[in-house]
């Protein structure tokens, strides 16, 4: 059996008396696309932030390639080949595209002096690679001048700067136009074709069904369902299942019917 790239074991996260996550286990295998679905407040974003090292779990274990890790942090997560495209406020909008792409991993020579030329040419190459080229902006343009889709392009370029093993996309198409959404999906397919793993979080179940091979439904801080694509006939079936999960217990047991 192939080793999991990352495995979260029985993760809990509580804020005082409130449990955001009540014992969630999740793993990602090499080259697979996992779709993470759940209602607002189900705990998806908390789980993703734990995966990225931004939030420390209250309890639970994190294993990288089967080895448990201590002191999990954003820097360690990135060093382990995990890149996350966060849902909101993920860019420093007053800075240039280049500075955003190299945020936290600047190309520097001796004594920390930046290799500006190389950063610009690398940024240009990445932008071209994911199809976010334009006659209007250059790598030195300020991110605040870009549209929502272009900003998402910068965030994605940042995620593929290094050969990441796993790319986590947290609702990457929220607030994007149709064309921009199509671009993002084009990119996700490219990443999938290159054999890298993806965790895709989305509101739109059709989108998630389209892209993912395995689905994990999170509800009220727990994994409510985990199914392979082969076990589900259509996106409709997934939606029906989601509706079932979302029902209050009394309705789900059928007493009201």
């Amino acid at each position: 059996m192939a080793q999991h790239i990352i495995e979260l074991k029985n993760i809990t996260k509580s804020y005082g008396n409130i449990f955001a996550l009540g014992g969630v286990s999740l793993h990602v295998d090499p080259g697979e696309v996992v779709g993470l679905i759940g209602d607002n407040g189900a705990g998806k974003s908390t789980l993703i932030k734990i995966l990225a090292g931004v939030i420390k779990p209250t309890s639970g274990e994190i294993l990288i390639n089967g080895v448990p890790v201590n002191n999990w942090s954003p820097a360690r997560s990135r060093a382990s080949g995990i890149e996350t495209v966060f849902q909101d406020r993920a860019l420093a909008v007053q800075q240039s595209i280049v500075r955003n792409i190299f945020m936290g991993r600047e190309l520097a020579g001796p004594f920390g002096w930046l290799n500006l030329k190389k950063q610009v040419s690398e940024a240009e190459r990445l932008m071209r690679e994911i199809g976010f080229t334009s006659k209007v902006f250059s790598p030195n343009s300020i991110v605040g001048q870009l549209s929502g889709g272009e900003r998402q392009g910068v965030a994605i370029a940042r995620a593929i700067l290094k050969q990441a093993n796993l790319i986590v996309l947290d609702e990457p198409t929220t607030a994007l136009s149709l064309t921009e959404t199509a671009k993002v999906f084009h990119f996700v397919r490219q990443v999938r074709a290159s054999g890298r793993s993806i965790v895709f979080i989305g509101h739109n179940i059709h989108h998630v069904y389209d892209i993912a091979e395995r689905f994990v439904v999170i509800d009220r801080g727990r994994v409510a369902m985990e199914k392979k694509k082969s076990e589900i006939a259509s996106a409709q079936e997934l939606i029906e299942y989601m509706e079932d999960v979302a029902k209050p217990p009394s309705i789900a047991t059928g007493e009201m019917a």
Binding site: R89, L91, V93, Q94, W113, L114
Partner: protein
């Protein structure tokens, strides 16, 4: 197919598009600093028109160039502090404290260079302490550094009984020759402070530290998510401010051969004003070191200029205010805040 067409199109223009013309990019990237320079030139022109005879006298400029370096050593690091989204009001007391260390070492008969080293260690240490208090204590930097300014100044007064320290022996020292004598009729300290400003500008724009200071001030959440140690970066910025204050303290003591218990006090408002007159906005994330230096030049010229032009000293404060307000209005149009 589409991709091919786009690629060919880009190839024809040598991979560059209109916004990549270097001259235009330079103007855009440095518009705040250039604006500050314009303010300074206009101000100088007005002074000159008012009293050509006084303002064609080199001695007047020497007077400004003797005092300006002290302000420059603190203005440049303060740009880092403001860019990181913080403010430091404790640097005058840190300047006083580190120059006290310098004075104590010199008075004890050691080489002034050892005194400079002591001042740098004390300045960096105090800056680090102030930064750690603000960052790890989770305090507002505005209020906490104000408190530290009072407290450190209080400690200075208690330790020294508010007595000054005279060091006439400094005038014979090599350290004085190197740092504060005159070269071709120009005060040597201006070369040191300009070198320091250039170093700061490079650190700000072309070094990993500067890049991270920008990002931390712009979006600390994002910086944290990308693995930057946000707290440590902020503490480093305060420590750097301490180093600048120590240099300022040493140079100001060198000029007078005397350490005063109030050393640094007069610099609080002019240095802060210089940063903002120079075109660094108060909200963090962006700024300009060169602009700050020009701002310091403008601010230190006001006093000399107002008196030189024949107005009474009572006008100085009015002109400080006028220049600050006019500069802010001028920077309004180029300081668009992206969110």
């Amino acid at each position: 197919m589409m991709a091919n067409i786009v690629k060919t199109g880009a190839g024809e223009t040598d991979g560059r598009h209109p916004s990549e013309r270097p001259a235009r990019e330079f103007l855009f990237a440095n518009r705040a600093a250039l604006g500050s320079l314009a303010v300074f030139i206009v101000m100088l022109g007005l002074f000159f028109a008012g009293r050509p005879s006084v303002f064609s006298n080199w001695g007047l400029y020497v007077a400004v160039l003797t005092v300006l370096p002290v302000a420059l050593f603190m203005t440049a690091p303060l740009v880092f502090v403001v860019t990181s989204g913080e403010i430091d009001l404790s640097f005058p007391a840190v300047m006083g404290f580190s120059s006290l260390a310098f004075a104590v070492v010199v008075q004890a008969g050691y080489d002034p260079f050892l005194g400079i080293a002591a001042a740098l260690v004390v300045g960096a240490g105090l800056g680090f302490g102030v930064g750690a208090l603000v960052v790890y204590g989770g305090l507002s930097s505005l209020v906490a550094t104000l408190g530290m300014n009072f407290m450190l100044r209080g400690v200075i007064l208690i330790l020294t009984n508010s007595k000054s320290i005279a060091m006439p022996e400094l005038s014979d020292s090599l350290a004085f020759q190197v740092t504060s004598s005159q070269l071709w009729g120009i005060p040597v300290q201006i070369f040191w402070s300009v070198a320091f400003v250039v170093f700061c500008a490079l650190l700000y724009n072309r070094h990993r530290f500067g890049a991270q200071v920008h990002v931390v001030g712009d979006n600390p959440d994002s910086a944290n998510e990308m693995g930057i140690n946000v707290s440590l970066t902020r503490v480093k910025v305060f420590a750097f401010m301490g180093v600048g204050a120590a240099l300022a303290g040493v140079f100001s003591t060198m000029i007078n051969f005397t350490w005063w218990p109030t050393s640094g006090d007069g610099y609080l408002l002019p240095v802060i004003a210089s940063v903002f007159v120079g075109g660094t906005p108060p909200w963090g994330g962006i700024g300009t070191v060169l602009g700050g230096a020009i701002g310091a030049l403008t601010v230190s010229f006001i006093q000399t200029g107002v008196v030189g032009v024949g107005l009474s000293g009572f006008y100085v404060q009015f002109f400080y205010g006028l220049i600050i307000i006019l500069s802010l209005l001028g920077h309004r149009w180029n300081q668009v805040r992206y969110r």
